[in-house]
């Protein structure tokens, strides 16, 4: 069973993804906001993929990605954002090994999200 970490600052969004992904047979770990991601990533090395919100209070998604790169944590990430234009970070993302085209914009078609997860994990 693949394990997915969902990071968002909105509880209701986390809940939706949690429910959906559980139905689709994933194990789901959640983080409300970005403050606890360090701990989660340090303690749980079995996470296969992260769904990461970009615009969160205090710590942004881009900061998380940078930290992960610094810590050499190599993990597929699906960027999940409501308003941030990821084209802006095209070059930074490329340096970190990500593709801005992998970003999904809210509100998202859940089937589309599932397809993307499956393609990342295959």
């Amino acid at each position: 069973m693949k394990k997915i970490l969902v990071v968002d600052d909105e509880l209701r969004i986390i809940k939706i993804l949690e429910e959906f992904l559980t139905i689709k047979g994933f194990e789901v770990v959640t983080s409300l906001g970005a403050e606890n991601i360090d701990k989660i990533l340090d303690s749980d090395k079995t996470i296969d993929l992260m769904i990461l919100d970009m615009k969160m209070p205090r710590i942004s998604g881009m900061t998380i990605l940078q930290e992960m790169k610094d810590k050499k944590i190599d993990m597929p990430v699906i960027i999940f954002t409501g308003s941030v234009d990821m084209k802006k970070y095209r070059n930074e993302l490329k340096e970190m090994g990500y593709d801005y085209l992998d970003a999904l914009y809210k509100p998202v078609n859940l089937q589309e999200l599932l397809d993307k997860i499956n393609s990342k994990l295959s």
Partner: protein, 550 residues
């Protein structure tokens, strides 16, 4: 004593007759010259300015009629009264045929003769007046200076029987120059400049008196040291005066014509000059009037030009103000949208997410299922609006490519033509012959073009035409999309770029504002011109990219 100024020549071989007439006429103010023979008389006519001759029909060596003939050769306008003795009336009538005014029979009566002389001189004057009247008519019919000068010279030559004639006028330095001449060397005409007081014309100008010069300047104390033209035998130099104001000088010379000018000629020249002066004055006034008029017309035109300039400046100013307002609006909107997108998209995610999760359940109640489906659809529509709005806050970051706009537009046409033609709308293209390269993201510009074309289509009710023209214009590529549709009133024109402004029943009001920001992204401009009933033209300007070559 009255000075009648007329010169009367008495030719008779009888001393008594000469004395009698001489005394009688002298007393009445005439200047009398006497001659005792035809030869002497002819000589006197040659040397004097004779107005009238009292001529004996029977002279020792010559018939009176022959003598008159000779005199007339010298002075054609000389008047003659024949004196006849007993039995010579036939000779007198012979003279009348030759142009004598009348004849008197001896014994002579001075009263009768004086009356006859007065009448003859009157006729003489009248004849000249008629000639001058004819001249004046010709002069006053002409008001253009150049033409007038020509007429004056031409008439002077004819009336005064001259070999050369010139009219001098004053130049800007108040020097006399030859404005026109007949018979003068071109060099003299061009180079002559005389100050007032200088040479003969200058003398006439200074004293405002006319001159009759015979046999050049020798023996004339007034012109001591002045070298005249040797070939000139006699001259008339007349001031052209208008109310004591000197306009110029009229000079008439005789060189080849055998007879010299006489006082009668001077008299004629004076009258002629006064008529010419009036006409010249008129021509001057007319010239000034014309100049003033031209200046008024010129000033008017300049004024009009500055009004046009001002209007253009005003229009430019309004235009840039509009653009400033537009870009300020867009920037403000961009910030607003970016902030809003987050706040709206999260709830939309929750609504649509919950709807999607619900639809994964086994819902028995069709009504509930339908309701949820509508919620999902509408949340996706809201997402679509948000996506389009985000266009304002997201300047394009894609790679730019160098595109021939003609090819790019041509690529769009197959997609839209069938749909347009079904609505009765034909699309005509008028592309520039040379390729027009621009540096753009092609699909974005195509999106804008499609948007504008769709608007054009919607503006046409029934059959119509859309014309797409491309041209290079200075450093820009200009694309005009002109429709034959209903056009827009000004109040609509003012708002077409405002987000959410729409005249369509089912429009978001984002089409043109998005087009605008797309074109602005590539440093271009989008504007519309339209009036109700006359269709609309959208004009897109994009910087011409002529670097990189072909």
């Amino acid at each position: 004593m009255v000075d009648n100024k007329f010169n009367i020549l008495v030719v008779d071989d009888e001393q008594d007759v000469r004395d009698y007439l001489g005394r009688g006429l002298n007393r009445r103010g005439y200047h009398v010259i006497e001659a005792s023979s035809a030869e002497e008389g002819i000589e006197q006519v040659r040397n004097n300015d004779v107005d009238l001759v009292l001529l004996d029909v029977k002279l020792p060596n010559m018939e009176g009629s022959d003598a008159l003939g000779e005199m007339r050769k010298i002075q054609p306008e000389i008047e003659a009264i024949m004196i006849t003795g007993h039995g010579t009336i036939e000779s007198a009538t012979e003279c009348m045929k030759k142009g004598a005014y009348d004849y008197v029979e001896k014994p002579l009566s001075i009263e009768k003769i004086v009356l006859m002389v007065e009448k003859a001189l009157e006729k003489h004057q009248l004849k000249e007046m008629v000639a001058l009247y004819e001249i004046s008519k010709a002069i006053f019919l002409t008001i253009e200076m150049e033409a007038l000068l020509e007429i004056i010279v031409d008439l002077t030559m004819r009336v005064l029987q001259a070999d050369d004639t010139s009219v001098m006028l004053f130049d800007e330095q108040n020097k006399l120059y030859i404005a026109i001449s007949y018979g003068l060397e071109e060099k003299i005409q061009k180079e002559t400049r005389l100050a007032v007081g200088e040479r003969i014309a200058g003398w006439v100008a200074e004293y405002k008196q006319s001159l009759l010069l015979i046999n050049g300047l020798k023996n004339d104390y007034r012109f001591e040291g002045v070298r005249g033209r040797e070939e000139i035998k006699s001259s008339l130099v007349v001031p052209l005066l208008k109310n004591d104001k000197l306009l110029g000088i009229l000079t008439v010379n005789r060189m080849r014509i055998p007879n010299n000018f006489n006082k009668a000629d001077l008299y004629k020249a004076n009258i002629f000059a006064s008529l010419a002066s009036l006409a010249l004055d008129n021509a001057n006034l007319y010239k000034e009037f014309k100049k003033a008029k031209e200046e008024v017309v010129k000033t008017n035109a300049e004024l009009l030009n500055s009004v046009i300039d001002l209007r253009k400046m005003n229009a430019d100013l309004q235009n840039s103000q509009r653009q400033l307002v537009q870009s300020t609006k867009m920037a403000a909107l961009g910030r607003l949208v970016a902030d809003m997108a987050h706040e709206v998209n999260n709830p939309l995610m929750i609504i649509s997410g919950r709807a999607q999760l619900s639809l994964m359940e086994d819902i028995r109640n069709e009504k509930v299922k339908n309701n949820i489906e509508i919620m999902l659809e509408e949340s996706l529509r809201a997402k679509d609006v948000m996506q389009r709005l985000l266009r304002f806050s997201r300047p394009s970051k894609d790679e730019l490519s160098r595109v021939n706009i003609n090819t790019s537009i041509a690529g769009l046409l197959p997609i839209i033509k069938p749909q347009f033609e079904m609505s009765g709308i034909t699309i005509r293209t008028d592309f520039s012959e040379t390729p027009l390269f621009v540096l753009i993201e092609e699909k974005h510009v195509q999106e804008a073009l499609l948007n504008i074309l769709n608007n054009a289509k919607d503006a046409i009710n029934g059959k119509g035409e859309i014309v797409i023209t491309t041209r290079a214009e200075a450093d820009f590529v200009r694309i005009d999309i002109k429709d034959s549709g209903c056009g827009m009133p000004q109040d609509v024109m003012d708002k077409i770029f405002d987000p959410f402004f729409t005249t369509k029943e089912k429009g978001t009001g984002l089409g043109l504002s998005v087009c605008y920001s797309i074109i602005k992204d590539f440093h271009g401009n989008l504007r519309f011109s339209s009036s109700p009933g006359e269709g609309t033209t959208a004009t897109i300007l994009l910087p011409l990219n002529d670097k990189g070559g072909e």
